[in-house]
Amino acid sequence: MEKRVFIKDTNHVGKKERTRDFYTAFLAQLRERKLENDVQLIRVADIGAYNQGFVVHIYPDDFLYSNVEMQDIPRMIEESILGGKKIDDLVCHHISKQFRIVLRNCGVIDPRNIDEYIVHDGYQAIEKILSGYTPEKVLEELKTSGLRGRGGAGYPTWLKWQFTRNVPSDQKYVICNGDEGDPGAYMDRSVLEGDPHSVIEGMMIAGYVIGATKGYFYIRAEYPLAIERVKNAISQAYQYGLLGENILGTDFRFDLEIRLGAGAFVCGEETALIASIEGKRGYPRPRPPYPSVKGLWDKPTVINNVETLANIPVVILQGGAWFSNIGTGASKGTKVFALTGKVKNSGLVEVPMGTTLREIVYDIGGGSASQAKVKAIQTGGPSGGVIPEDFLDTPVSYESLQKLGSIMGSGGMIVMDANDCMVDIAKFYLRFCVDESCGKCTPCRVGGTQMLNLLERASEGTGKREDIEKLKKISLAMQRASLCGLGQTAPNPVLSTLRYFEDEYLAHIEEKKCPACRCGALFRYSIIQEKCKNCGLCAKNCPAGAILGDRESGYTLDQEKCTRCGRCFEVCRLGAIFRG
């Protein structure tokens, strides 16, 4: 087999006949030309393009065609397969814009084997640095690169390192923040599991620049595999003399240890994290002083996110200028997102900054997972907000997302469709922050609970018109007066849903209706007797035993027993269940 042709119907998922007809026609035409032994035709499950009709990929010439029709088969065979020429009008333009810097080795190397990292240019950045870069030169490259922190706040990495470097001290520390507490986010876990050495190398470079000889990984205990792989990676690095004294025969020394977090969201905040490493309760403290001046055990400390650190070796190897060519405006490089929710392809994606949200959701994620339209996306987890579908053409950057009332955050991206209620979403995130609030400062402890009460009232049908003003007022107080980022940003999900979906709040409060049919107290299910054929499927599937009757006398729904789970609505094939 010299050539392979991959085909996929990217429109009609589940309609096998269409693919079968296309496949058969294609094969017949190959046979006509006696090519069936030279060209293998393969139906694939996913070709990396969506909603673009038949997509055809010809290997090894690497032609990717979309919206291909039956009548295009002959010229594809003649011109492209036999002639090796690209047919311009068939070329597919909507393809994934993924670009891998952080995830360069994830899924490529065996993370348990240091040699595989080395062979993929691993430890070449530290090698380059120790062979003649001064710390200033490294800072210069980082500054040129424009790399900013990926843990949420987006602080320029070079500046943080320079501050720490400039504070005189007998000891300094480097900390890798692997706490990753946002619900739905797992970018950092994947990097730690899939490419732990890249983070180690990033930490070594930080240590070299600021003059630290010791670093800590702070990883949440819920990540046992990440911990195991980092542990293993550290021990292999010691064996090779890449950690410890006299690294690579120079007088650079760097030691690494792991500290486990117990899974409190607030311990991802840098000052609380430092307290936690010191064995104290994970409480944040006011800043300044910043960790760069007074960090771990009161010593100057650089604390960076996993993804930030994984970028560092590439910045050094490829150069700051190369890195700064990727991205947009003040946001350089790439960003990893954990794309989840009501999207066809949930998973990890890495795109250059400046890629639009629409490209992420549709060209990579494949669009909505259901028949329902995408309504909004949520970024930044409990500190972020929702962005309605109308704004999906926004290019991703720290500033653009903030302007929309959300944040880049660490990279959670949750897709929501018409079946998601915005009041319910706001309530979910706020409850998370209330549960995770450490209780140290009053605005966060009391304000969060008060806001949650108001949201609960709205979703139970007892909300009042003035509650909306109250929500805004408490939000402002929390933003201004909370001690740390948790309380300061906790109102964001509420404010952003209010900003774009105030009508949904009003429907809950004034009409006592939940338009998405999520809030159990504001809608009900019932059986439309005219449509019901007494099949009994709903009764069989009801987990609460709320559907009474039998096949002879018909069925009724007992509202008292009904839990609003929606199972009957899903299973009924006749549309005989009313919801509203």
Binding site: Q40, L64, G107, V108, L225, A226, Q239
Partner: protein
């Protein structure tokens, strides 16, 4: 193991880069393992041993990102396109060895993202 110097490390990298040959990789991060990657990995290893395919290496790797299609198996046989098989179970794993590795034919309906995988 002796501690490496700068020169040792570059020499070592150079030497390691010379290694070529066919391989199979199984995504064994939390997402893959949860979907059954370990069984797939064991099956592949066993089958390769049974058929005495010594030059073919079966390896573990991290998460490639296509979590919706786990367990993922990437196959690189020299002279053939490099592809990902998704939602692989024991049966598919056996077919990969029989048809793809030995028969040099790609499997229908199991390949994910042939485009991105090269």
């Amino acid at each position: 193991m002796k501690k490496l110097s700068v020169d040792d490390l570059s020499a070592m990298r150079k030497e390691l880069k010379k290694k070529k040959g066919s391989w199979i990789r199984v995504g064994c991060s939390t997402c893959g393992i949860a979907a059954g990657a370990k069984e797939v990995f064991d099956t592949l290893k066993e089958e390769i041993q049974k058929r005495d395919l010594k030059s073919l290496e079966v390896k573990q790797c991290g998460c490639i990102g296509m979590c919706y299609a786990e367990p993922l198996v990437e196959v690189m046989i020299e002279g053939m396109p490099k592809v990902f098989y998704g939602k692989v179970d024991k049966d598919v794993a056996l077919k990969i060895v029989e048809k793809h590795v030995c028969g040099k034919m790609l499997l229908n309906d199991r390949i994910y993202d042939a485009k991105r995988s090269r």
